[in-house]
């Protein structure tokens, strides 16, 4: 009975008086408004840093927060010459850690993920489960003994001490395995094998090229996670020539307690340091394949 009633209502909607209609349309805009509010909240600090980076050190503390200052160029110049251009060294270090680390990580993840997805071999489940359990181990539980062990072989405070632990990514292997299972067809591999191609050749000239979009995703996630990692360089590095930009800006912020003029440089540095990430984020958007993760949720 209710079904009949409901259907009736759906077919001939009862006309509403004008006042109710305007309330309804106002309510209709509410979801859009809420979503835009979220967007404003997320963009606000970025907008603030854009404005603040244009201010001189005096203006930063005195002028209205959202009014533009006059010394963006001066700030950039000062940042570039701060301690003989150490800021650019930090940016280059970050690019090195994140770029090389993520590249190696994508390759290792790709090869491992392919092997785990496409071969049946003894110990496969054990290896996969052990690698995945790695996600759950807190970073500090790893970073301190990694430091102690690396110091025994004299590798702390080197580029390698930050790069080496960044290459293995349980999450990357997990994604690569899902991607290999979905994107490398069995019959193509089987056909190549029948044609006498070696396993290495199948891997390098068939499987990995097919997995490229997935590996770009792994690269991106790993790039961001290495660029963002604070604890590892914080523990491993003492020489500030080796610092990534996050560590460098942090040490500047700490000195800002005694020399507030550094705050301006920190703000300008923060802006410059997020620009490449935002550019990377916006241009490679289609590779942010969160669906790989949620696909796994359903399985």
């Amino acid at each position: 009975m209710s079904a009949v009633l409901v259907q009736d209502r759906a077919v001939t909607p009862t006309p509403r008086p004008p006042r109710v209609r305007s309330i309804v349309s106002a309510l209709g805009a509410l979801p859009t408004f809420v979503l835009l509010l979220g967007a404003v909240y997320c963009l606000f600090p970025v907008a603030w840093v854009l404005v603040a980076a244009t201010k001189s050190s005096g203006e930063l503390f005195s002028t209205s927060t959202l009014s533009l200052g006059s010394s963006l160029v001066a700030n950039l110049g000062e940042l570039a010459t701060y301690r003989d251009g150490v800021f650019w060294q930090w940016m280059a270090n970050s690019a090195l850690y994140a770029g090389v680390g993520a590249l190696l990580s994508a390759v290792v993840s790709g090869v491992t993920g392919y092997a785990l997805a496409k071969y049946a071999f003894r110990g496969r489940a054990l290896i996969f489960n052990a690698l995945i359990a790695g996600v759950l181990v807190p970073a500090v539980v790893l970073a301190i003994p990694q430091y102690l062990l690396l110091s025994k072989v004299g590798l702390t405070d080197t580029y390698l001490s930050v790069l080496l632990p960044s290459v293995i990514s349980p999450y990357g292997i997990y994604l690569a395995r899902i991607y290999a299972a979905a994107s490398v067809p069995e019959d193509v591999v089987e056909a190549a094998r029948t044609d006498g191609a070696s396993e290495l050749r199948i891997l390098t000239s068939i499987a990995l090229p097919m997995m490229v979009p997935g590996l770009v995703t792994v690269f991106l996630f790993q790039f961001v996670s290495i660029w963002n990692n604070f604890m590892l360089p914080y523990i491993m590095l003492g020489d500030d020539k080796l610092f990534p930009v996050t560590m460098g800006l942090y040490t500047m912020l700490k000195q800002g307690n005694t020399t507030p003029a550094l705050y301006t440089l920190v703000v300008t540095g923060a802006l410059v340091s997020v620009l490449p990430l935002i550019a990377l984020f916006l241009t490679l958007q289609r590779y942010w394949r969160i669906d790989l993760l949620s696909g796994a949720v359903k399985a």
Binding site: T32, V34, W48, K118, Y119, G134, I144, A270
Partner: protein, 309 residues
């Protein structure tokens, strides 16, 4: 799985290749994960004993103390206080972040809502900004001298709020994490939503359900597995909070060097040079995280998948 069947049928199933392919990852895993974990557990069972004045080589020796370091960690009042602080911080952070992420994801999935593409990118954008930089930016937004919020309050002649006070700091820290994480969680939930067959909503709409009812009765229950997964990752991240308080500390006196358990581990290891206590505390933290993870995963299996299998 199909791959097992296929390679078994070929007859000339490759025997060595898969081992060669996983070897680099396994070697790295052993070096970077297994060995350090084993070393931590080993260290946690020892302590240095100082002979004489403690000068010169050989005056310090490692002695086996069994579970004594664990007992000390468990009864350490500062560690307990740190754990409570993290619980308080997590109690603000996790529900707020996931609640907002869920609302935004549901709105993105609503065809009538405008500016969805822009909002999606804008809300996801903070994910690409390093936690330290985010803390630093928000730090300036909190700092009374540079805060636009306090400036606004001053202009409206309202009392100013100091979020860097000992109580406010919980909200200040939670806000940084919400800001950085809400977009990522929104995307996970949104992609899960996109995979729900559309005709389910159509049927509900014909039955007279409002969009709100569709969201409450169909979408949210179907999102349960994704919600558990995002909660799990959020809780793990919460327990590991380290960079935000470290980065905010130069701006306030409300954050001690041992404000969170992980900060205490760092302080024990490098501040006080007591790597043995640090190791025991690390193992305890890891243990708690494993218990929470497996507990939550078990709960998902029985609740979310129980009906289907």
């Amino acid at each position: 799985m199909t791959s097992i069947r296929m390679s078994g049928r070929g007859g000339a199933a490759p025997k060595l290749a898969p081992y060669a392919f996983v070897a680099p990852a396994v070697v790295l895993f052993l070096l970077v994960f297994a060995l350090p974990i084993g070393y931590t557990v080993y260290l946690s069972l020892f302590r240095t004993e100082v002979k004489g004045l403690g000068l010169g080589k050989g005056s310090r020796t490692e002695v086996f103390v069994g579970l004594d370091n664990y007992w000390r960690a468990l009864t350490d009042s500062e560690l307990g206080a740190g754990a409570l602080r993290v619980l308080g911080y997590g109690a603000i952070l996790v529900p707020t972040m996931l609640g907002l992420a869920l609302v935004f994801a549901l709105l993105l999935d609503e065809e009538r809502v405008r500016a969805r593409g822009f909002s999606r990118i804008a809300i996801f954008l903070p994910y690409s900004i390093p936690v330290v930089i985010a803390s630093l930016l928000w730090g300036f937004l909190y700092l009374p001298g540079t805060s636009p919020f306090n400036q606004l309050l001053r202009e409206l002649s309202l009392p100013e709020v100091d979020v860097l006070s000992p109580t406010g700091i919980y909200f200040a820290l939670a806000n940084i994490a919400v800001w950085g994480g809400v977009g990522y969680n929104m995307m996970v939930l949104y992609t899960a939503l996109r995979s729900i067959p559309r005709d389910l909503y159509e049927a509900a709409r014909i039955d007279g359900c409002t969009p709100l009812q569709v969201a409450m009765r169909i979408k949210i229950p179907l999102l349960a597995p994704a919600l558990v997964l995002t909660s799990l990752f959020s809780i793990i991240a919460t327990l590991q909070v380290f960079a935000e308080p470290i980065a905010l500390a130069p701006l306030t006196n409300s954050l001690s060097l041992t404000w969170t358990p992980l900060m205490k581990v760092y302080q024990d290891a490098f501040g006080r040079g007591d790597i043995y206590s640090a190791a025991a505390t690390s193992v305890l933290i890891a243990f708690v995280m494993f218990v929470i993870s497996f507990g939550l995963l078990r709960l998902t299996r029985s609740r979310a998948f129980g009906g289907e299998r």
